[in-house]
Structures are given as C-alpha cells and as structure tokens.
C-alpha cells in the first residue's frame, strides 16, 4: 500500500444499511453474518459468535483469544489481529 494513502475501506456501516431497519431485521442480519463468517474463516481456525442480547460479534481463535467487533468491515482487522493473515476470496478454498 502507498504510504501517502489511507487504508482502503468504508466509512459507513453499509452491511447494516442493506438489512431491514427493524430490531428483528438487525438481529437476523447479525446472526447470519456470524454464520457466514464462521464458514469463511474456519480454515484460519476462527469462529464468529453472535450472542443473543448483544449487537456485537465475537471473533474467537482456537486458543480462545477474542476480538469483539460491531461492523462487518471490522471483521478483516480482527482476523489480521488474531492470525496475522487476511482472506483472499480468489484463492481456492482449502
């Protein structure tokens, strides 16, 4: 990345903006995101939990280290913090 430019990324919670604007809609969106992220991050040994009653997501490593995030775009930073790696969807899934 160029030293002059900021890291790419969104300034808005665009995932939430695409979900229904109701409490139930937001809860469902969060639960679904946790399930999908757990599938995607399983090869890195990570699990994402959405605890009932909380609007955050907990990203956990196999050793129990946990990073709590509130938005989809924070997931990638949490993955990097826990594993030092990032996900490239163009790489074949193991």
């Amino acid at each position: 990345m160029c030293a002059q430019c900021r890291a790419p990324g969104s300034r808005i919670d665009w995932y939430a903006a695409g979900a229904p604007d109701t409490l139930a809609g937001r809860r469902t969106a969060r639960t679904e995101l946790a399930a999908v992220a757990t599938r995607q991050l399983a090869p890195l040994g990570l699990r994402v939990d959405a605890h009932p009653g909380s609007m955050t997501l907990a990203v956990r490593s196999a050793t129990g280290r946990t990073v709590v995030v509130t938005r989809l775009d924070e997931l990638a930073d949490a993955v990097r913090a826990l594993t030092g790696r990032s996900v490239d969807p163009l790489e074949p899934r193991r």
């Binding site: 160029c2 002059q4 430019c5 900021r6 890291a7 790419p8 990324g9 969104s10 300034r11 808005i12 665009w14 995932y15 903006a17 695409g18 979900a19 229904p20 809609g25 969106a29 679904e32 995101l33 399930a35 999908v36 992220a37 995607q40 989809l72 775009d73 997931l75 990638a76 990032s86 996900v87 490239d88 969807p89 163009l90 899934r93």
Partner: protein
C-alpha cells in the same frame, strides 16, 4: 445548433448520481442523454431513465466499450441522428445533449472526435466538460492512475462527489491536488448532486504521482453475473468486503442488483470502497456487473459461486 455537455470521471466517481440530479434541476431541459457503460450490460441507463423522463429527455445507452475508442462510431451515429432529427423538425430552441462517458474513457479523445468530424463540428458545440472525482478515494486515484489525472486536466468543471462523507479538510486537500493538475477549472463539492463551493487548501499538501511506467499494463475486462432471488445479503456482503480489501486495485468497480430475501438492493463498490446500498429502482435487471483489471472473469465468478452459494449456479 446543439449544446453538448460531456460528463466524465473514473469508475464509481459518482457521474450517474450527479447527472440524475443535474437533469432534475436543469431549467433549460435536455433533449438527449447518451450513457456509456464499459460493460456489455449497462446499469446506468436504467438508473438514469427516471430522472431523464422527468426532465423530458431520451436516454440512449451505448454499452460494451468506451466511447473514446471501441464505440466512438456509435457515439458519432447517435449524435448525427440527433442532428438529423433537429434539422427535419422545427426546433424552437437550441438542442441540448448530455454525454456520460464510461469511467475508463479518455475525454480528450471524445472532444477531438467532436472537433474532427465535419458534421459535428458545424452542428454541435461542447458547452462544458464536467469531470466527477470521488471525494473520498479520488486522491488515491489521482496519485496512482495516469488516466484519472488526464481526465481532470482537461475539465472545465470538476465536481468532488460524496462531500457528506469527507472528513474535515479532506475535500479541500483533494481540491488542491485537482488545482495543481488544472489551474482554471471551476471546482465544486457535491452531495448526491447538490453542489456547494469548495476552496482548495492553501498551502497544498504535496502529492507524489508515482504510476508513470511502474504499474503493470492494465488488462481491463468486465463480466456480468446473475444472482438468484433470495441471495443471502450476509454472504454477498462478506464476499464483497473481502474482495474489495484483497484487490482494491483490481476489482475496479461492481454495480448491480442483489435480490435479497428482504428486497432488491442496488449495491456498488469502487475500488476498496463500498457505497451504502439502497433499494433498487424498478426496471433494472437482476444482476451484477464487475469491471476487473488483471483478474480473470472466470476466477471471479468461481469465487462468487463458492463464497455466495445462495446466489445460485
């Protein structure tokens, strides 16, 4: 005589949003809007149709290549036809045409074509060349993409879009970079097409333009993927986020409709940035158009099918 306005700017800069609002506000009325999409299937023409019909303008899409090279003949034909139409009818006033180029077009080649063609030279005058620059990611593009600097350098008017999302001083710094490339253009900031003045930062923050001869040869291609009804928003959003992060310089643009269980969403990304999804307007086909640089479209489609299984086979 026909007055022409040329609207240009890189992929995802906000040309269509600005133009839709411009059409709604234009007091003189526009007769024809020519919309160019690099991809084979256009999305912009469908998005502009409502604003254009309110303004009483026709929309003529030209898809599958840039107006400045592959499809310059198509633009010439459309403009000749419009001139012919005006000659045959009793035109009470001068005609007005707006041409929105694709994000990859080189506007100076279009202005040269307008000047070189004897029919166009006589019957059409270029009133304004508007270049839209993304208020958030524009500075990065100006630093690293020669083509974007060329667009800005020939502009009469530079619109810095998405002004509402910019942090304090950011637009002014971007305006200073634009001013360095173009000393005379009028500069405005725009939020969803609503304009306000912007003053370049003084002194300007220095930029290093570093892509001359150092980047790999671009290999820009586009593809379209149809997404099944009931596509999971979580799956698509997570895939798009990781794609934009992993390949901000290669996934140049994505734009289209995601038919989620809760409704159809218009979803767009520009490099590493994803715009706020909005409910899709009616009349736009379900499907997503991707503009890729040095990514094999088949690899992208495979990745999408793997990570977004709900989008269907």
């Amino acid at each position: 005589m026909i007055d022409a306005t040329l609207v240009s700017g890189f992929l995802g800069a906000g040309k269509t949003t600005w133009l839709a609002e411009h059409l709604r506000r234009h007091e003189d009325g526009v007769d024809l809007v020519v919309v160019n999409d690099f991809a084979d299937q256009g999305v912009d023409d469908a998005l502009l149709r409502e604003a254009a019909s309110e303004a009483g303008a026709r929309v003529e899409p030209i898809v599958g290549g840039c107006l400045c090279c592959d499809r310059d003949g198509a633009l010439r034909r459309v403009l000749h036809a419009e001139i012919g139409r005006r000659h045959r009818g009793d035109a009470a006033r001068d005609g007005r045409v707006v041409v929105e180029t694709s994000g990859l077009a080189e506007p100076h080649r279009i202005t040269r074509m307008l000047a070189d063609d004897p029919v166009l030279r006589t019957n059409l005058s270029l009133r304004s060349l508007v270049v839209v620059v993304d208020g958030l990611g524009g500075r990065r593009l100006l630093r690293h993409r020669h083509g974007v600097r060329d667009q800005v350098a020939v502009a009469d008017r530079v619109v810095l879009s998405r002004a509402d999302l910019a942090r304090h001083g950011e637009l002014e710094e971007l305006a200073a970079t634009v001013r360095r490339l173009n000393a005379t253009a009028e500069l405005v900031a725009s939020t969803l097409g609503t304009e306000r003045p912007v003053t370049p930062a003084d002194p300007a923050v220095a930029d290093v333009f570093d892509d001359d001869g150092t980047v790999a040869e671009p290999d820009v291609r586009s593809c379209r993927v149809d997404l099944a009804e009931g596509t999971s928003w979580a799956e698509y959003a997570l895939w798009l986020d990781t794609m934009c992060r992993a390949h901000p310089d290669r996934l140049l643009r994505s734009k289209g409709i995601v038919p989620t269980r809760d409704g159809r969403l218009l979803v767009q990304s520009m490099g590493g940035d994803v715009a706020t999804p909005v409910p899709a307007p009616p009349g736009v086909d379900t499907g997503m158009v991707f503009v890729l640089d040095r990514i094999d479209p088949d690899a992208l489609v495979r990745s999408l099918r793997t990570h977004v299984p709900s989008a269907g086979a």
